[in-house]
Structures are given as C-alpha cells and as structure tokens.
C-alpha cells in the first residue's frame, strides 16, 4: 500500500474532506487543477492504494440513466493528510529565525 501522496492525490483528498463527492464535482471544485480526462484514472489508482473508496449512488436517478459513482476518503487517507500537514507545519516552524532584529533605541 502506498504511503506518499502526489500533489493531485493531496488535492483530491483535501477536496473530499470527510464528505462524498462525484468525480465531476471534484473537477469543478479544483478550479482547473484536476482535468476531466485524468481524474477518474487518478481516483481508480487511489482506490487501489486504499486512499479512497467508491460506490454507486443509492436509488435510481430521477430521469433514469447510469448510476453515478461517489468517492470518499478512507480513514487511512485522512490520517495521511493530517500527518503530512503537521509535518509541513513543523518544518515551516523550524525554519523561522530564532531571533528577530529590533531597532536599538539609543538613549543619551
């Protein structure tokens, strides 16, 4: 099972949060970062890796037609994202300067 996230996977997991979404919803919500031609393949790979699960929507669609597929992040993925986030924050905090240069007030 894969334990490192690519930028696309991270984006998808951020967009999913702890909700369920359709593939096209993710494309629309990403503002162009995700493409229609690649999002489904990425989601299929993430499902293989155990990062998302999917299922067909419940019940028939009002006008008939094929059932759509809904995606949800797995607990493993949510934990991975949280770990990555805390790691990134820790690295950023470590890079902060230890002291800041304040102007010295000279009194006479």
């Amino acid at each position: 099972m894969k334990h490192s996230l690519s930028a696309k996977e991270r984006l998808i997991l951020d967009l999913l949060g702890d909700t369920e979404r359709y593939g096209l919803e993710l494309v629309d919500a990403s503002g162009g970062a995700l493409k229609r031609g690649t999002v489904y393949v990425t989601l299929a790979r993430m499902e293989e890796s155990g990062l998302v699960t999917s299922h067909h929507e419940d019940g028939p669609r009002p006008g008939g037609g094929m059932p759509r597929r809904l995606y949800r992040a797995t607990p493993l993925a949510i934990e991975l994202v949280a770990l990555q986030r805390s790691f990134t924050e820790a690295i950023s905090a470590h890079r902060q300067p230890r002291f800041s240069l304040q102007p010295i007030k000279v009194t006479r």
Partner: protein
Amino acid sequence: MNPPQPRRHSGAWLLGWAEQHLAADTFARTFAAAEADLQLELERADPPTRRRLARAARWQYLRILGGALAIDRREARRGLRWWLLFTPLLAVMTGLFALGDGLAPIAQLAFAAAGLVAGYVMASTPRRILASEAPAAGWIAIAMLAALPLIGRDLHGSARWLAIGPLVIQVSTLVMPVLALALSALVTRGRLGHALALSASGQLALAATADLTGAVTLAVITLAIALTSTRRALLPLSLTTLPLVGIAALRDPLLAPVAHSEGALAELHPLLMALALLALCLAIAAPLTTWSRTTDAWPRALAAALALGVATPLACGLLFPAPVPLVGFGGSAIVACHLGLGALLALERVDRPRAARATM
C-alpha cells in the same frame, strides 16, 4: 417504460472498445464512472454546451484510455514469477568464458538483454491475445522457414541463417518457441488437423533447409505436447512427424562447428563445464515448475515443449558436433529461450474478466 437512451458523443466508440478490452473493474472505475457523469451533464446542459461537451468527449476518453490500460497492465503483471526469465542467464554467463575477448561476449550479452526485453513484452501480453494469435504466428514462423532456401545464408549446403545487417539469426531456433506455443494451443483445444498441418509443414521447411537439429527438436516438442495434453494426438502426430525427420536426416550435411566457440563445452575448464551443464539443467527444469502451479493443459504442454526445446539441442550438441544452446556462441537460442519463458508466464497469469455489455 423503456430506459432513456444515452446521449451520443464523440467518445462513444472508445467506450465500446474499452468495454471489450479492459478488465471489468478497471472499466467500471474509469470509463463507466466518466460516462455516468458525462451523460448527466449532457442532460442538464443547454444545446451549445451540450455540443461542446459531446465534441470534447473523444479527447477526454482518450486520456482515460491511456491511464486505464496502464492500470490493467500493472494488474496483469502482478504476481508473475519474473525470476523465470533470468534462468537461462547462468548458462549464458558460463559460456562467456569460452568466447575470449573481442566482440563475441559483448554480442552474447546484447542478445541476453534483447531476450529479457522480448520475454518481458511476451509476459505482459494478455492470454486471450496469445490464444487468438498463436496459430497465425505459427504459420508466419513456417513461412519464414520456407523462405530460407531463397533468402537465407548458405553454408556447405545448409541454409539455416538469415543475415539482417550485422546480425546473423538462426531462424529455426528463433521460431521454435512460437511453433511450440501454436502447437500447444491447437492440440489442447482439440484442433488436431490444424496441428498436424502445422507440424508437418514445419518439418518440411526444416528438411528443405537441411536442419536436422531443428527437425529433431520440433519432432520432440510436438510429441511432448501430444503426450502431456491429449494422448489421441500422439499417433497421428508421430506418423506425420517422424518420417519427415528422416528426410532432414538424409539432407543434413552434418556441419562441423563453424566457430571455435561452438565447441564451447569442450573448451571450458572441467569445473566450468560442470557449472555450464548444471546451468543448462536449470534452464531445462525451470519451465517444468509450471506443472506444480497449474492444472491448465495449455501452459503445462508449453512448459514441457520449452524444456525439451533446450534439452534436445543440448543432447544433439553433446552427441554430435553441433552448437550447445545458450553456452555456445549464438544469440538466437538466448532470445528464443526468453520468448518461450515469457509466453509461459503470460499463460500462467489468470486474466481478470472483461467488462460485460450488460453493464451498459
């Protein structure tokens, strides 16, 4: 009430192709998911947007197809015994000591690399493609053998080699695994008439090129396939194969080794010769491990054919002045060995079921 007809778009033909050729779960997770979303969008969109979406669908589905095929092939390669492809290399390495300096060892290594690539490609081929194309490939192999008297390089009355630029290929050695694959496919499917015709044609072509080693190898392979699959094929195949071997025996000029390295075994240090023989035994035994893994007749028949495909020329090389496969100089046997092992790996793999039309 009739279900609503899906709206037409430019990617529909790709959808149909993918449904026929992708595994069911890959198709469901990629194309089916995209199609369901696209159909809903087409229903809800105004006419100009609908036309734009319908036109763009082709490119969207082409991109999906690339990714879906990659997923399918990765799944197909999982769990294969890749180590099988490396079993001939030990014999090749021991033979390098007899070849001395110069280009010969480099050529052998280049052939080994080419063989590994060929074996990998073959192992990645879906079994259903091998099943449908193997007989045709067998006939193409026969045609190549039949063309040799016209286009092959003649040496002391035997035209067994084809020169392609700097490469000299022994065609009968190279096509032997293809013939083994085709014959095993036909015999295990009960198409005995077709198998008889293929086997007899191969023997005639080998007799025409005065290649006794090739004729004997093909005869042994054919009989091994008959013995390990359906016994009722044994008698007719024996009756057509063995007399034709006799013709090749009459015509074969019993060539002396044409390069010092073709007596490679005799030129090795005794210890190295023992290691070479051991390595050759490994190359013979490796395909037979398939017998313990599957009860499917086709891979078992092919495994027996591949093992005897190495054992027979080895026996000929030990008894007569003939090159020993893999150890002596010659890249055709190396590539052929890897091709055969790759085909065996492809047959061992269980292909996932393809998407059914009912899902649409």
